[in-house]
Amino acid sequence: MKNSLLLLSFLLLGVWSFAQPRTGSILLKNGNVLTVTKGALQNTDVLIVNGKFTQIGKNIVAPAGTKVVDVTGKFVMPGIIDAHSHIAIDAVNEGTAPVTAEVWVGDALDPLDISIYRALAGGVTSVHTMHGSANAIGGQCETIKLRYGSYNPEDLRMEGAPRTIKFALGENPMRSHGEGRGIQPRTRMGVEQVIRKAFAEAKDYDAAWAKYHAEKASNPRALPPVYNRRLETVADILKGNIIIHCHSYRADEIYMLLNVCRDFGVKKLCFQHVNEGFKVAPELADFGAGASVFADWWAYKFEVYYSTAYNAAILTRNGVVTSINSDDAELMRHLYHEAAKSQHFGDLSDDEALALITINPAKQLGVENRIGSIEVGKEGDVAVFDQHPLSVYAIPQLTIVDGIIRFDRQNDKKDMRLEVDPAQPIPAFNMEDHEHVDRCMQGTEDLWYYLFDH
């Protein structure tokens, strides 16, 4: 009897831990609400019911049983979105060929990564976790929500978010393949041709399948083409089913990809890093391409030597949908501060600066109808700060994902690991804060040693 009770409780525990709720309800009372899209509202309540904003206004009465948090004097903004990160994945680069569209970081999600909690502690609620930049056409990426606490990788996915894929121009693919392996591309000319070839082959591949589908009804002997996941994926890009997020720095290579995409009718395009985007801002705006930039990182490699920290401001003023991303587990924790730099390096308004880390990255990921602003009907992702989030002194207090509190500074347990890794090296001390390392090249260390140590 005792044993069976124990067994039952274990079973229940098992069910509970594998089926944690993904949405919740909460009422935030009397805050300074920075909606981003509908202005700043003082002394305003925000109600989230079952993971969605249902009411924004004064004196809202919560349904019985709803958790109520007084946020008087505090600042409530939409959950921060990082359009470029490599957290919560076990693998970054499949650096074995210039085109690896078939791979997907969504197959390697790691819900135990402590970086997820640290990002939550910086007000981040959604992350575009990406393949690396070793290949001209890299792997597919995943848009996740930071539902830290679950052991189930599936809980991280932002269900229904559009598919995205990583492209990379310039030094990284040139170094990985041209210098590292002696195959194309070794130059920016080669990068263009690698992409054009992949696009052309995918077009032919798709035409072959279309021909087969047309024939097979009338001709039972029609042979299907050989299935090719790589070309299948590139064909999906050409059909507009996948958004390109392209690692890039120099103006000429950015301009090149605009031309290639125009030639193949590809419209869904967002440039990543894009340090020299400011030089071709009118061209980016004309195409309708997005730009996801660093606030002030530069000079860590030659192709970012002629950068300016005014990039975000110039792009914004030229009408380019611009976001500020981290590409780094540390920087990710203070994207609100990175956004504020657009008021030091440039003169963006509070709303324009906050848009760089909320509604604009949402647009670039194709989820602007779901997240990125505090509006009724949208998903209840919120970051609460003690001061205005554009102040260097602001400290995130509360981070809410789909109506569930995932970070609370008052209830931070110090050691927030979900699991102690038995393989963790001893001593556990590990420092990597020296200089900006190109995290996009993670997973290509062998090549690093080959290139720099030999």
Partner: protein, 433 residues
């Protein structure tokens, strides 16, 4: 003929004026900053005028006599601060960090104390104007890697030669043998790390034994000019540390290493010790305070050193050490990102250090640690005119720097980043040519 020459002269003069107007240069003079709020650091907040003469702060106060011919800047609504000092960087030593031939902070060899960082400072590095226009006027440039990578030098970010930039302080750098990993690319086995630490500790003890012996013999030899001295640059450099002529700055980060380093310097009775890095200082803050060793810590915008640590351990580190009674200065440990010093200080302030202590940690405290607090680190009459005028709190992100003076030179608010902004905000051509 005379007319023609006159015309030519006039033309050349005009051309020179136009050209000089295009390139703004640092310039010396007598400058008065009037109606300002003056954050002196050492004498509270004052209102009034700050007068700069002969490169020095000549007067501060509400009734300053402004000499005839003084260039006056109305600073109503603006605040004057002493220039910020970065306690450790590679500004000027590194141009493009991934291009190894542009990096001059990492010489071959484990024991190269004779290397002089000042020698390799490029006064025309692109990062120098980029850094100084954010109010960071002065920085310790530090050689890196190996056990004894060389001598660091304090420089002002203005001047055309390293000697013009030199700000009067040097420290010997030592990297305490570390048992930690350097990052995701560090895939050494535990055994390899342990062996390397033991090897390096042995080397460290041997070289300091030798240096002590060398200093002893060298002192004796100096009394007899007839003795010929062997060329031994390593030992000659280290003898200065043994004799207490040069401070020894020990880079040490993990709690275990910090405790071991304290024991090591006490056993060797070494004087003028500074600890740098000190990422886990918060774990052993009382021990550091008790040992009376000043600390230069940073970057503050950094990840915890252990997965099990509180997420904000690095933000809170300077405040926790400060509260324990440690003398704390801040650094960026960067080249191109040294302009983030005020933001590192802002985070330190927010996460427990407080604004006042954080401001001291980038001004007077590093000046004291480097022994140049009579010349810089605060706004006092007689000190070097190294200061800036801003729209407010220099840590606050949106604050703008309006005027900049370094070592008496009025320095233009200009850098490649600003030039690119001016050119490309509204490009000459749109999409159509």
């Amino acid at each position: 003929m005379r007319n023609k020459t006159g015309f030519l002269m006039l033309f050349l003069l005009l051309a020179a004026t136009v050209l000089s107007a295009q390139v703004a240069k640092p310039r010396k003079g007598t400058f008065a900053l009037t109606n300002a709020t003056i954050e002196t650091i050492t004498n509270g907040t004052q209102k009034g005028t700050l007068l700069i003469q002969n490169g020095k702060i000549a007067a501060i106060g509400s009734s300053v006599n402004i000499p005839a011919g003084t260039e006056t800047f109305d600073c109503s609504g603006l605040t004057i601060y002493p220039g910020m000092i970065d306690g450790g960087s590679t500004v000027g030593l590194s141009e493009v960090s991934s291009v190894s031939l542009t990096n001059d902070f990492d010489e071959i060899g484990e024991i190269t104390p004779q290397m002089e960082a000042l020698t390799a400072v490029n006064p025309n590095g692109a990062a120098i104007p980029v850094t100084r226009v954010s109010g960071v006027t002065t920085t310790l440039v530090v050689p890196e890697n190996g056990l004894l990578p060389g001598t660091a030098a304090l420089i002002n970010l203005v001047g055309y030669t390293p000697d013009q930039m030199y700000a009067g302080a040097k420290v010997m750098v030592m990297n305490y043998p570390s048992g930690g990993r350097r990052g995701f690319f560090d895939q050494r086995s535990e055994e390899d790390i342990k062996k390397e630490v033991e090897r390096n500790q042995k080397a460290m003890n041997e070289v300091f034994d030798q240096a002590a012996l060398f200093a002893h013999i060298d002192s004796a030899a100096q009394k007899d000019p007839s003795l010929k001295k062997a060329f031994n640059p390593e030992m000659q450099a280290l003898a200065k540390v043994i004799r207490g002529e040069l401070p020894l700055m020990i880079e040490v980060n993990s709690a275990e290493d910090i405790k071991a380093a304290i024991k090591w310097v006490q056993e060797r009775k070494l004087k003028r010790i500074i600890f740098s890095g000190v990422a886990e200082g918060w774990r052993v803050a009382d021990e550091i305070a008790k040992a009376g060793i000043p600390v230069i810590t940073g970057p503050i915008l950094a990840l915890p050193t252990r997965a099990s640590d509180p997420y904000d351990s690095r933000y809170a580190n300077p405040g926790l050490m400060h509260k324990a009674g440690v003398k704390v200065a801040l650094r960026t440990s960067s080249a191109e990102n040294a302009r983030r010093l005020p933001y590192n200080a802002g985070f330190a302030a927010a996460y427990g250090m407080g604004k006042e202590a954080a401001l001291r940690a980038v001004t007077i405290v590093p000046a004291q640690i480097f022994g140049v607090d009579k010349e810089m680190g605060s706004l006092e009459v007689g000190k070097d005119a190294t200061l800036f005028v801003s729209t407010g709190d220099p840590f606050e992100t949106k604050t703008q720097i309006k005027y900049l003076f370094i070592d008496g030179y009025m320095t233009p608010i200009d850098s490649r980043h600003i030039q690119l902004y001016n050119e490309f905000l509204n490009r000459a051509t749109g999409v159509e040519k």
